[in-house]
Symmetry: C2
Amino acid sequence: MNHKKRAVTIQDVAKAAGVSVSTVSRVLNGKIDVASDTQDRILAIIGDLGYTSNLAARSMRSYKKNLIGLVVPDIGFPYSIEIMKGVNRAIAESNFDLLLYTTGDIQKNGTDLHEQHYVSLLNNSITDGVIIVASAAAEFITNAPIVAVDPHVVNPNYPSVQGTNYHGSLEVMEYLIGQGHRRIGFISGRQDVGSAGRRLKGYQDALANAGIDLDEGLITPGDFTQKIGYKYARQLLKLSNPPTAIFAANDQSAIGVFEAAEELGLRIPEDLSVVGFDNISEAKYLGLTTVDQFLADMGYVAVQMLIKLIGGELLELETYKMQTKLVERTSCQKLIQTAY
Amino acid sequence: MNHKKRAVTIQDVAKAAGVSVSTVSRVLNGKIDVASDTQDRILAIIGDLGYTSNLAARSMRSYKKNLIGLVVPDIGFPYSIEIMKGVNRAIAESNFDLLLYTTGDIQKNGTDLHEQHYVSLLNNSITDGVIIVASAAAEFITNAPIVAVDPHVVNPNYPSVQGTNYHGSLEVMEYLIGQGHRRIGFISGRQDVGSAGRRLKGYQDALANAGIDLDEGLITPGDFTQKIGYKYARQLLKLSNPPTAIFAANDQSAIGVFEAAEELGLRIPEDLSVVGFDNISEAKYLGLTTVDQFLADMGYVAVQMLIKLIGGELLELETYKMQTKLVERTSCQKLIQTAY
DNA sequence: TTTTTTTCTGAAAGCACTTTCAGTTTAGCA
DNA sequence: TGCTAAACTGAAAGTGCTTTCAGAAAAAAA
């Protein structure tokens, strides 16, 4: 009852066609040396029987699987979705198929071990290579190539596509400072994530460059979620001397800032300027000024790099730097000098 | 050079531990009858060697794979993304992993054949069951269970989760008519998609119920994309006697309507009321009144149904009807009677 | 101590396929 | 017609694993 009909195998096809398995396999793989009429006959029978080759068995024998693995922490995040869009586009243009792997529970267990596990699981089995998003590991043991998108470590042991996080953060701060803001709040990203650290560094350095004293009280923790963004935005805005602008480490936190501002009756940008990071699709609708990381393009490039590696080619660049760009919308405003 | 190191296999582990492969396999699968110290020793060696079992080889022998396949037309669509979110949540709560399959090229080739192909590919190989989104086929040949989300056919041969498209459409129309709208434009969905047809039927029937003559000129084709929504919205709005409201078959088309309205200098809702369908995340930001299909919940429920089937249980309901709900936002307004 | 039971282990078959190797036809050419 | 090359096909080995079967060692019972 449990496994209903047995799947139709290559043997069934062979028997029906009156040839040997090897012959069927040959027409399946487009190999030479099989008479065109036998070929047609076999193809017809395959159609009739509705045969599909067993992925498992096939990948066991042959090295070429035409399958790329994608390991993503959580497909629900806008961040992941953006990257997936780019990956999808590159896949569509290639002759590879996509195998997305997720356990959906990064929150629960530390990622590191699992990443390694999934990468080997896929690469040692059914994929020709894998793309890993936001990986924490500095090294991977795998016998097929991998490419990382936005890894936590700056100089990983594997090829990667990275955004210019430090630069982007610097640019945001120069923009804000240029608008006259002096008290700028910063809502951090997840501590264990490399890019979050680089954005914080950019914040600090820009302040120093402009000769503004760093007020530690304006830097809050964070974890890239809207909820926590909201929480710390409230905290910042309730300060006796609140910031005139808030720079959130990503767009989702920035959305949390919007929420807190609205609740406290503050208008954006009149009473508070807000900047995010990532440029997820929601940002456009909110008029959120943010830094475009070109996440989709990062996914796209990663697939192209991986396909090269699978083909045995060498990469010109081991780490591809995707240039960030400040996207000005309506969430920021020149600071009107108030009398002190 | 191409396949660097050979992956570490169960044999390597066995050799290192000085036992036979079968023993290693037994500890791997948590079977009884292996001395606890041998067990510990083997486990340690597995850790040292970084062994991961070969998915392909494993799924060839055993029926239980703890893997669920998800076949999605295009992961870039907000529609797909919503469903994926729900699937992801259900997966996280289960002890299954997700294998997302997409070729990314539904546009190019008719979907039907490919769907069948992917479903068998997955189900005859590495997955315990698959969920297929927006499937066109009425029947599937597969030896593992499948569950469809929003299939094109109303009464498919397989279990499915469906929205109440007709009902939702009716509700929209009653709402619009209740606001005094008489000339209501309809931008259709893709013709080959069942739910699109049901929404159109709802549109027509609601008009008939209200005793309003159907003006065929107010019904345009469509394909669920923003671009085509824009195109036909323009066409509708340039009519000598344009509609006062437009009901788009999905939110993305509705966004196209917004675009067209803005371009023609029409304010929403003052000059034009707009309703969509789906309630994708963008809808909230646009203030788009729409019908919530609870796509994420549909994905969630589908996974739960599938897991039951995999476990050999029977379903109470072969087709789960997810009740739609009108979400009122700010894109509609009572029609102010203009003098004719 | 002998017999029975329990615990533990390994050999080998089988899963569905690809690929190598060798063998049989058929065609090409003198 | 005979000989060589090309075209075609099948048997069988091998891929990494699980599982059955049976046998050995240890523990328990007699």
